[in-house]
Symmetry: C2
Subunit: 373 residues, 2 copies
């Protein structure tokens, strides 16, 4: 197969956005960063990326096929899935393209700034319980997960499909989820059931799951070999995007200006707060800078995260010394030694840019302003 | 007060989008148009525009004040509101800026294409029941609705505030809503309570409602006299934006290409479908064109809409005569004689552009394609 490589739409010639990027940004959406205040992201605030269209699925007629290198092929209804032992866990999910719009040149695809994240409380069956019923054959090497969403990408007509090596798929916390935050999955999050692989970037968590196929060779579908690889240039086969790199985000303090989103707040003591996560290991530290990254101070981490796979809260008291302009940053490190870089690491597809958030803030002197009239 | 007028960020110098527009588009979101299939829009798919930040509101401590030109000032808790007679209605809500990104030159603000719409099933108390308790004085002329969302716009620090003339506010179907689609309001839609004024553009439906003030003079706040007016140029005081103009939208048929969102579908008979609404009168007709607007055919309207204030479904059978490129359009007319124009009507703020949707479609010949390998 001669698949195109790199970003779906090439690279931007300008800082300005194309209409095609706008079309994606108007459909998909990030989590407004003030929603970092919620340990579990309310439905509708969790980030959403739909590759093609949200398919119309009748939950009564929907079936999940489990086939390929298994002893017993399965055809499971939603009720069958719900009869398996019920698992619930909170997991933070981030789009692999989060941060893409801050790369130069900008890979043309969904133009995320920093908001493509959320934490859901997912309920479902353990994938392992389903696979145990199907009984994998000894030569099975990967599992291919196929969604019902269909479209064209890189010239290839496809259903959205991604694979996982067995060792990842059989992890205890991998779910076939049918509830989000205690309610049936909304259509846009994969109704009636989706894959949830805690720790991995969002593309792994196949929505509208319809088929699981055990295969003996590494899967070579578009989303595995063309999309979601870190490439230096278009000729580089690259390495796969897998787990989420560490990232800390803060609730932008103060109040925004409508059009610029620039923040202002009065002189005084302010609590900066946010959340941090990594798909590789628990968060070990978060540091904050109020001088554009010249100096850093350690933030206080909240008590344990809601779950091992969910973001961890942090806070820091800021008492700006004077009115004026400030640039705030935050930066996380995990227990495996992965730290956010100070600058973006560019790649063709614009994946996994975990350079620190920068928030410009005007601190104002709370003197009485002249009467307006 | 010398308030700036016109679009918050001026006019675009280019077809390309600025970073400031992207910042808004990444936070706010439209309804992916395939969600036109749902008569009631699922939470998370309904369009969302948040002027400033989503405020953190404690539902237990929240109070709604009713004051100004009333005999009895009120301080209502959520429980007090819920004790009033319960009203539920479906209402279609569209942002006044829907269609803005298709104007030339483009007013710089939230860059909506066509997706800023949704239909919610709203439950709450009738505003009239609240006002009856407060007992308006004879000189009350307008009601000012104040939200808890705070920011800076046009150089003015403000809470989001809009007014309504009494005759509009006292309409039977105007609600103070505390439930959406049967569940408590999500934070982003105004928890714990918001105004819902069926038929009017979205800016009227003040979220995170905290105060209702009866006043004797027309309200001159920013969102009334600077924002949301139809102006020919920056010196024109303009006329207020009020009710939704008629619009029909269709579910884009076939399947999309990821980056361009361009549609393709095979030769054969296809059911085009969508929904149409107007804030002025019931929808009377929807017409469809498959040749870029050169000729039109009447679509079939579904049975009565879910409510007088909700969109109405329509459909049309399309049997393309040959493979090739098509441009589909749809266009609505209401019973008051308001019809969608064929081209956008420009204004400084980019409001109420109800020019028809245009969907480019490639119809393919379903001959077997050469084997790929």
């Amino acid at each position: 197969m001669s698949a195109p490589s790199g970003a779906p739409g090439g690279l931007a010639q300008s800082d300005l956005l194309t209409r095609e990027e706008l079309q994606l940004a108007a459909r998909n959406h990030g989590m407004p960063l003030e929603a970092l205040r919620y340990p579990i992201t309310p439905v509708g605030l969790h980030y959403l990326l739909v590759h093609y269209d949200i398919p119309a699925v009748d939950g009564e007629r929907w079936r999940l096929m489990v086939e390929g290198r298994v002893r017993r092929s399965l055809t499971l209804s939603l009720a069958d899935l719900q009869d398996l032992p019920v698992r619930t866990l909170a997991a933070t999910m981030e789009c692999a393209g989060n941060g893409r719009a801050d790369l130069t040149p900008r890979p043309l695809s969904q133009p995320w700034l920093l908001e493509a994240v959320g934490t859901g409380e997912w309920t479902g069956a353990a994938l392992g319980d389903v696979l145990e019923r199907a009984s994998l054959l000894a030569d099975a090497r990967e599992l291919v997960f196929t969604g019902l969403d269909r479209g064209v990408e890189g010239g290839v007509e496809q259903r959205y499909e991604r694979s996982l090596p067995l060792a990842e798929a059989l992890r205890d916390e991998v779910l076939i989820a049918y509830r989000l935050n205690g309610a049936p999955l909304p259509p846009q999050h994969g109704f009636p059931a989706r894959l949830v692989v805690p720790g991995w970037y969002g593309m792994t968590n196949v929505k509208w799951l319809s088929r699981i196929t055990a295969v003996t060779e590494p899967f070579a579908g578009y989303q595995q070999v063309s999309g979601y690889r870190l490439r230096r240039d278009a000729d580089d086969p690259g390495v796969p995007v897998t787990r989420m790199l560490p990232r800390a985000l803060m609730v932008p303090p103060g109040i925004p200006e409508f059009m610029t989103r620039r923040r202002s707040l009065p002189l005084g003591r302010h609590r900066l707060e946010g959340r941090a996560w990594s798909g590789w290991a628990p968060i070990q530290s978060v540091a904050v800078s109020t001088d554009g990254g010249a100096s850093w101070a350690a933030a206080r981490l909240d008590g344990d995260a809601t779950s091992q796979w969910a973001w961890r809260g942090w806070s820091w008291q800021w008492d700006p010394p004077a009115a004026g302009e400030y640039e705030l940053l935050c930066r996380a490190q995990d227990a495996a030694g992965n730290a956010q870089p100070t600058a973006p690491a560019w790649n063709v597809g614009g994946y996994a840019n975990n350079a620190p958030q920068r928030v410009a803030v005007t601190v104002t002197d709370p003197e009485p302003s002249p009467a307006s009239g």
